[in-house]
Each structure stands twice: as C-alpha cells, then as structure tokens.
C-alpha cells in the first residue's frame, strides 16, 4: 500500500443555478491572457447539450481516455506510444478553434467615435483571433438553458446514446423536457490520460496533493495531451505554444483556502476536501470491467480512520494535519460513506477526482409540473422508476450507463427530501424512509446538514501545505518567519539598514494587525510612523502628525 493524498471536489448539481459566476471568476483569475481567449478552465454546461468543446464526449471521434486492449490491459484510446510519436507532426484528432468557438470582442470605440447621424452606431463583433469582423456563431455556452435544443439537442452524444439504447426519443418540447447544469473543471484524475499522452513528460501529478499540472518549462507543444484528455480540459495556448489546464488554484489550496470557482460559487454547491488513496492499485482499478469501475474507484479511497491506513500514511510522510483533514473530509463522506457523489464518465478509465451528486431536480420538476406532491417519498421513488429518460441520461454521464446505481443515489436524495420535510414541519421523523435506502435517520440528518446548510469550514476542509515548505510558497521565495522578518526596519544602523524586507511580508503583517487589532494602527512595529496605506481611519495614531510635545512651543 502506498498512501497518497488527493485534493478533490464534489459538486452537488441540485444546487447549481447556472449563473456562470465560477466560470467568470476563474477566467479573470487564470485565462484572461492573449492566447487563452477561448479557454475556460471552468465552464458550466446545460445538459442535455453539446458541451464545450462541441460534442467532446464523442470519444469515437476525439479518441480521449483509455480503453482495454484484447489482453485486458489499459491502452490509450488514441494509440500506443509509437502511434502517438508519429502523430506529433500533425495531431490527428485535435479539436480546432471552431469546435471550441472563435473568441471575439466588440468594436466599442465606434459607439463613441461614430459621426453624428440618423442611425445608432453599432459595436460590431471583432474576432480576437484575426482582428477582422466576425459572425458570432458559437460559444462556450451557446446552448445555455436549452437554447436551440429543438434544433441541436440530438447532437448531444449522451442523447444519441440513450436513444440508441432505449429506442425512445428524449423529448425536447418545453413541457416534457428536463435540464440541469453541469459545471466542469479538470478532473485531476488518478490515472490521467493527458499525462500518459504527453511525449515530453511535462504533465505531472503532485505527490503531496494530487493536483495535475503542466510544467510550462518542459512542455514543447506536441499537443497530444489535448487528444488524450477525454474531458477536453487541456487547452493549447496559441500564443505561447504551450498546453494549459485548470490548476485546482494550487496557490490558494496550499494556503488552505478553496479554489476561486468554489469560493465564488453562489449556490455553495462545491465541496473541497482530501482523499487518502492507494497509489499502487490505481492501474489495476482503472483496468476493471466497465460496470465495476465505480466500485474499483471507491475501493481506492482509503478509510482515514483505519489504523492500518494511518500507519501507512505516516510512513509515507503525510502530515498529521492532513490526516486530520482526511477524517473530516466532506468529499470522503459524500463519495464513500453515503455514496451519493459519482465520478463523471467513469468509462473513460481515468479515475476522475471531481465527483458529482446527480440532480434530483429533473424528477422533482416533472413530478411537480404534473401536479403531484414532489416531496412525498412514495411519489418520488415511483417517479425515479418510471421516468426512465432522465435516469438513463444521468446514468450515461455518471455511471457508464448503469441505471441501477444512479437510481440508488437518486432514491437517497429523494428519501432525504421526504425525511427532512417531516422534521421541518415538526412532525415525527420517519426513520423507515432512511432505512428504505439503506441509511439510518441520523446519517440522513448528517447528510442533509452537509448538503444543505454546511458552513464554510465544513464545505472546505483544506489542510495547508506543510510549514517546512513555506519558503517555496511565499512570494519572493521568502518565508514569514525568517530572521528579523516580521519586525520591520530593525537593522543595526537605522531604519533603512539591514536586509531588505520583502514587501509582501510587510503588508501581510500590517494588514493582519489592522484586521485583527482593536487599537489604532500605531503599535511599536510601526516604529513610530504611520503607513497611510495601512491606516484604518480609526482614531488619531501617534506619528500621524509631527510630534508637538518635543517642540513644545506650538
């Protein structure tokens, strides 16, 4: 057993309102640069819908992920190592810009510069690639909220699959259809096929927290990772000629704060925590038969309360703070204890580490629209069994088509709904509802608390990077506790002598003082002076004005 820690995310899809705040804040933080105009490390898709890039789930076309060869061993769907090497001259199935979309801006200047006339001036769309006038025909969320679904709905690869298997049409008529939002980031897989595809070996998984990153110094732009990733979450920066991807906001994670997408999520639908997993068994698990992939992946996730696991983790050098975080991990609870969070497309065999609690809302909405009581467990259970289309669609996304598994999860969510209604209405809690789905009443209540009202520190249990590594993490390569650091300007020869104090340290200390202190910002550390940038307007600190006592006359 080789225990490793993995930072992981769970998204509870029922709580996603499709506001795209995560996408926007992520883009502002990471991809608002030339060369990444079309890149969304985080995007929110409306399903059913084609997704971004268009039809990325059609692996017969894009050849992402892994498959089993005749001897039952893993191989990249896009070919073996030699085939990949011969593909570097022109990557055979790389998506083009039109599969993502051509990024654009508007000629805003014409709004203010246009000569006086009878017509309103118009800001024409301009391509960010060519600079020419362009016609906007597609974007990362063109089919948002089922827009154009009656025309294009059949192009969703999952719709195609459901249709092929059940010979039943997914109805796109307004009254009959269903929809939900699917936010997607990089899955930070345990068995990443992008990494396996990289000829340069530039993509790596961090041993400490499992974040998958592209070494920008080592990437040579061979583009194989873009084909390799079945989620199409590796992007080519056409300006720098390097691959880029979601970083799980590792600088934030190292400081113990959640990713930008999670932090800014309006619906509070994201949870971040760590898993302990057995790195030695990853390949074996990824080679399991398709219907056993989910169980195999869950098996990899180790019980953080198991003494054997704890012993091995300590042996592997995992810090106590990380073990503690693993025991409190919300993602472990949802994925393994309650088994309500599922991996996206386990059939790609990459062992994805962003998990989804499938939405019950398609079922609830359809029930309610038909005039039924959508909180009643009997109605809900019946509907889950009867409404085959949404269930089959969800199964194609989360369980490789296994409807039994997805039904089990949906029944748990439905049971939680009914169980909590009784409690909320002051009736007696009916633990038989919980038992019907294999849980106890207290488990159900705990699950409700986690999914519905969990506080910030319960939703994000992120241990900080080890302190001994701090010097690698601090801005300017300088840790906070370096000799004479936090006390500012303490050189032997006056205030500008001694070693230069990094700006970040000064700000950090002064800001913390300002935020936590109750006194005016004039303590000894300020050496009798007031840094106006740090002055909180609170009182009249000494040193704000020239000292009158010394002069004495005025």
């Amino acid at each position: 057993m080789r225990v490793m820690a993995q930072v992981s995310m769970v998204m509870t899809l029922d709580k996603c309102i499709g506001c795209h705040t995560c996408s926007v804040t992520c883009k502002q933080a990471w991809t608002n640069r030339a060369g990444t105009e079309y890149v969304w490390f985080n995007n929110v898709e409306t399903r059913p819908g084609q997704g971004y890039p268009r039809r990325y789930e059609d692996q017969e076309r894009w050849r992402g992920g892994w498959e089993l060869n005749k001897r039952g061993r893993l191989r990249l769907k896009s070919g073996n190592r030699l085939q990949k090497l011969f593909g570097i001259f022109a990557s055979p199935v790389q998506p083009e810009l039109k599969d993502y979309y051509e990024p654009w801006t508007y000629d805003y200047a014409s709004l203010v510069n246009a000569p006086l006339g009878d017509d309103f001036p118009v800001a024409k769309p301009k391509s960010l690639i060519t600079g020419e006038d362009t016609k906007i025909e597609w974007s990362a969320n063109w089919d948002d909220d089922l827009g154009g679904v009656t025309e294009n709905g059949h192009l969703d690869p999952m719709v195609e699959k459901v249709r092929k298997e059940s010979e039943e049409r997914i109805a796109f008529e307004f009254e009959k259809t269903f929809m939900f939002y699917l936010p997607r980031i990089c899955e930070h897989c345990l068995n990443p096929s992008c990494m396996a595809s990289c000829p340069s070996g530039a993509i790596y998984k961090r041993t400490e927290d499992g974040v998958v990153l592209v070494d920008q110094d080592r990437c040579r732009g061979w583009r194989q990772c873009i084909t390799g990733c079945p989620y199409k979450k590796i992007y080519f920066n056409h300006k720098s000629g390097k691959a880029e991807k979601c970083t799980f906001c590792y600088p934030r994670i190292e400081a113990g704060i959640p990713t930008v997408c999670a932090e800014t999520c309006v619906g509070r639908m994201r949870y971040i925590g760590i898993f302990l997993y057995d790195a030695d068994r990853v390949t074996e698990a990824a080679s399991a038969p398709e219907q056993e992939l989910y169980e195999a992946q869950l098996d990899l996730m180790l019980d953080p309360n198991d003494p054997e696991v704890i012993r091995e983790a300590r042996k592997a050098g995992i810090e106590e703070s990380w073990l503690e975080a693993a025991r409190r991990s919300p993602v472990y609870k949802m994925a393994k204890e309650w088994r309500v969070a599922l991996p996206l497309h386990p059939e790609y065999r990459t062992m994805p580490m962003v998990w989804y609690v499938p939405p019950l809302s398609p079922i609830v909405d359809l029930l309610r629209d038909q005039g039924h009581d959508a909180e009643d467990e009997g109605n809900l259970f019946g509907a889950i069994d009867a409404l085959r289309i949404p269930v089959e669609y969800l199964a194609e996304l989360f369980t490789a088509g296994d409807t039994e598994l997805i039904t089990g999860v949906l029944r748990k969510l439905a049971a939680m709904r009914s169980y909590m209604r009784d409690i909320s209405l002051g009736r007696e809690a009916r633990s038989e509802i919980a038992e019907e789905v294999g849980m106890t009443g207290s488990e159900m209540y705990e699950m409700y608390r986690m999914m519905a009202i969990a506080k910030y520190q319960d939703r994000y249990v992120i241990p900080k990077a080890h302190m001994e590594d701090a010097h690698n993490l601090e801005e300017m390569g300088c840790s906070l506790d370096f000799e004479g650091g936090p006390g500012m300007y303490q050189g032997a020869f006056g205030e500008t002598s001694g070693r230069p104090v990094p700006v970040a340290v000064e700000n950090f200390q002064a800001l913390r003082e300002r935020q936590c202190g109750e006194r005016p910002a004039d303590d000894e550390a300020m050496a009798g002076r007031v840094n106006l940038l740090n002055w909180d307007g609170n009182g009249r600190p000494d040193g704000l004005f020239p000292d009158q006592r010394e002069g004495g006359e005025r």
């Binding site: 060369g35 190592r81 022109a90 790389q94 060519t130 600079g131 990443p192 070996g201 998984k205 961090r206």
Partner: protein, 251 residues
Amino acid sequence: MNVLDLLLWGVLPYVTLVILVGGTVWRYRYDQFGWTTRSSQLYESRILRIASPVFHIGILVVLVGHIVGLLIPKTWTQAMGVSQEMYHVMALGLGSVAGVATLGGLALMIYRRRRTGPVFMATTKNDKVMYLVLVSAIVLGLATTLISVTEGEAGGDYRETVSPWFRSLFILQPDIGAMAAAPLSFHLHVLVGLLLFMLWPFTRLVHAFTAPVHYLFRPYIVYRSRGAGRRSSASPRRGWSPVGTPDRERR
C-alpha cells in the same frame, strides 16, 4: 588555398559549431518557456495534416541520407561491395524522393502560412528569416543532386570532396583543399547549411533538439513533488500578455 577558402572552410564551420552549441545551451538554460514548436494547428489543420508529416518525414530521411553520405567513407561502402553506380542510384533515388517530399511539404506549409489569416498573423520576422534560409538550403541541396545527375562524374563526387572535409572537421584537421575543390553548387549548399545551423538555436527549429524519444521508455503516470525546483536557471519572466489589440496588430 587562398584566404577565402581558409575562412569559409577552415574557420566558418567552427564558428558555426560554437554558435550552434553555445546558442543551444544558452537557450536551453534561459528560455525553457520559449522552447516550443509554436504549433498553429489550432488555427488550421486541413492542409497541415498532409503537409506537416510529409515535410517532417521527408527531412528525417534527408537527415539520414546526409549522415550516411558524409560520415561513411567511400572505401567502406566499396569494401562492402557497393559499386559507385549502385550507390549513386540509391542515393539519388531516395535522396530526390525525400528532397521533393520535403520541399513539397514545406511549400504547402508556407502557402498555408501565407494564406490562412490567423496563421500568417502568428508568423514572426524570426520565422520568415528562418523559412527563407531553410527553403534555400533545401533548394540548393536538391540542385546539387540534379546537377550531379545531369553532369555525371563532371559534377564532382561529393564523397571525395565534401565528405572528407566534413569528417576532417571533427579531428580539428580541416581538409580545406578537398572542400575547395568541390563545385560551386556544393559550396553554396554548404554555406547556406552553415547559416541555417547558426540560426537554429534562435528559431523555433529548436524543437527538433527535444524530439521526445524518451516517451517510448518513460512510465505513463508522472509523479513529482511540489518542492522540485524550476528547470530553467533564469528567473521567470512574465510569460503572458493581456488579451487585446497590440499582439493582434497587422504585421
């Protein structure tokens, strides 16, 4: 042996070697971030899909041809029982097929570069100079092949002039006389070739030096510790520019 011969065939090759090796080492140390193929496949892939493999495979065959022709002495092949005629037929046959493929592929790629808007906009001055020298080297190389076909023995046997000179360079005893005796077409081809190698470390051609052969041998999954330092010894520059107009200006 006059001064010009001495400079061109005795001094210039070493200058080239110093620039090639020194420039490559320098760039590898200080510009890891700029070391890339700068692929334009995202903009256009229909032409590239054909042109690029034709060019690259062609030039790899050309490379092998050069290594065989320059490094293996004539006496060795004759000892193996390969007659002059057989050698020539083989070399010219394979060489001209590979050369034409290389040139054809490159021509198609340059056409694509000029005619596809985004690709042309992503073309730097550096690229244009590099393309000029690269095309010249290939055209002159094909010309030497054609001339030796049409003129036969009168066209000069490079295996008695260029090759001995090339090998003598590496034992620091340049056989200037042998190279000086080669026909003009070879002189030009070699000179442009040297120029290409001088430019090499400073253009996108560097990607050839990091051809990922080790991919065949490495494990699929790469684990790396957070603490592992940077590879480049230079402090990182800002590796990006904001979205907007300056980088989109017409060149």
